[in-house]
């Protein structure tokens, strides 16, 4: 048993933990910008009585590269943090510890797929 532990020592443990903290802090920043931009900027201030987002507004905003970076960066951080968090939760259980490779690969696949999905979602706004 003790050999096994030494052998697994080179895996992602430390980095995973570190990135979880890093992404958490970045998330706070991104989340702030995201919420502010989405709900408080522009709209209500000008019209005064139109609280909801409209398609034009969003696509207008997303014409600016900065907003794309923020939204897409936010998505990547959320995924990094969320999926890495899921990995933590899973590795707390014997069942998944024994299938760690599978867990890692699975979460990477989900993560990458979602990033692509993210582009798909943003596309009409960017082009529109």
């Amino acid at each position: 048993m003790s050999e096994q532990i030494v052998a697994t020592s080179k895996v992602a443990g430390t980095w995973a933990w570190f990135l979880q903290r890093l992404s958490a802090i970045l998330l706070v920043i991104f989340l702030g910008i995201h919420l502010y931009a989405a709900h408080f900027m522009g709209v209500s201030a000008e019209t005064g009585d139109e609280p909801l987002l409209s398609y034009e507004e969003v696509s207008l905003r997303l014409d600016q590269v900065l907003y794309i970076v923020v939204d897409y960066g936010m998505l990547s951080m959320v995924l990094l943090h969320g999926l890495n968090g899921l990995r933590t939760v899973m590795l707390d259980f014997d069942m998944f510890v024994r299938r760690r490779k599978l867990v890692d690969v699975g979460l990477w696949v989900v993560g990458i797929a979602t990033m692509i999905w993210g582009i798909v979602i943003l596309w009409p706004f960017i082009t529109g």
């Binding site: 532990i5 030494v6 020592s9 895996v11 443990g13 430390t14 933990w17 707390d92 014997d94």
Partner: protein, 245 residues
């Protein structure tokens, strides 16, 4: 309050005979200064000779008698009965999530196996001096606390991470590792970090602080674990010299 009876409700289980654990209530007459261990002996001697539990020093130094008493893991020999007077049934059960040998006596094999995994021994710096290693009092300070651990197993069995992940080294083993990691006489910090940095090491700790809550010696395994997490990251970022003592 030093008079009257306290109903103690003990979890009974004989793995060779019973399918499931069950609870049994005994009434114990309170005597001045009576500890929970005394109460168990009272039951063993005069009510039910079939009760099983561990005991040795009865002074809170050997770590034999850790069990869950009234919803909290404590040492039976150090816990006064009078505080439970008039509070209804006093529930007593073995350390959670351990294999039960009999009633309140658990099998510590798994606990010690995990301690053994962290190389729980000093590998002194060669060459050995003719007399003692010189260690200044301030160099000893970091180990002052972790060496007080009596290996009672309370912390590891209260940590729910150790419940669901049987590989997790647990607070006791990790604090043992820390104790050698910060000992100025030790020469293998790299190897020690390799072990605590593994997936079954410090990363399984999510600062539940259950270990701190239950430790009968008032030690703080969480702090040791957190310090090692920082060391691990520093080592990844800045290389070996991060482990200098």
């Amino acid at each position: 309050m030093t008079e009257g009876e306290i109903p103690i409700k003990v979890q009974r289980f004989d793995p060779t005979a019973d399918k499931l654990p069950y609870w049994q209530t005994f009434n114990v007459k309170l005597k001045p200064g009576m500890t929970v261990l005394d109460a168990l002996f009272e039951v063993l001697n005069h009510q039910d000779g079939t009760l099983g539990f561990r005991f040795c020093c009865r002074a809170g130094v050997c770590g034999s008698c850790a069990m869950v008493i009234g919803g909290k893991t404590r040492l039976a020999c150090e816990t006064q009965m009078s505080q439970f007077m008039g509070k209804g049934d006093l529930m007593i059960s073995p350390l959670p999530h351990q294999k039960v040998v009999k009633d309140l006596a658990v099998d510590y094999t798994h606990f010690f196996d995990r301690i053994k995994k962290v190389k729980p021994y000093l590998v002194g710096k060669e060459p050995y001096p003719e007399k003692e290693f010189i260690q200044l009092p301030k160099e000893r300070t970091p180990i002052n606390e972790p060496i007080d651990c009596i290996l009672c197993g309370s912390c590891t069995s209260a940590c729910t991470m150790a419940w669901t992940n049987s590989d997790y080294l647990g607070p006791a083993a990790l604090m043992k590792s820390y104790r050698f990691l910060v000992d100025t006489r030790d020469s293998i910090p790299e190897q020690r970090m390799d072990i605590v940095e593994s997936e079954s090491g410090v990363w399984r700790c999510h600062t539940q602080f259950n270990c701190v809550e239950v430790c009968p010696k008032k030690l703080n395994p969480t702090e040791a674990i957190q310090r090692m997490k920082i060391k691990a990251v520093k080592r990844k970022l800045f290389g070996k010299r991060a482990l200098k003592k």
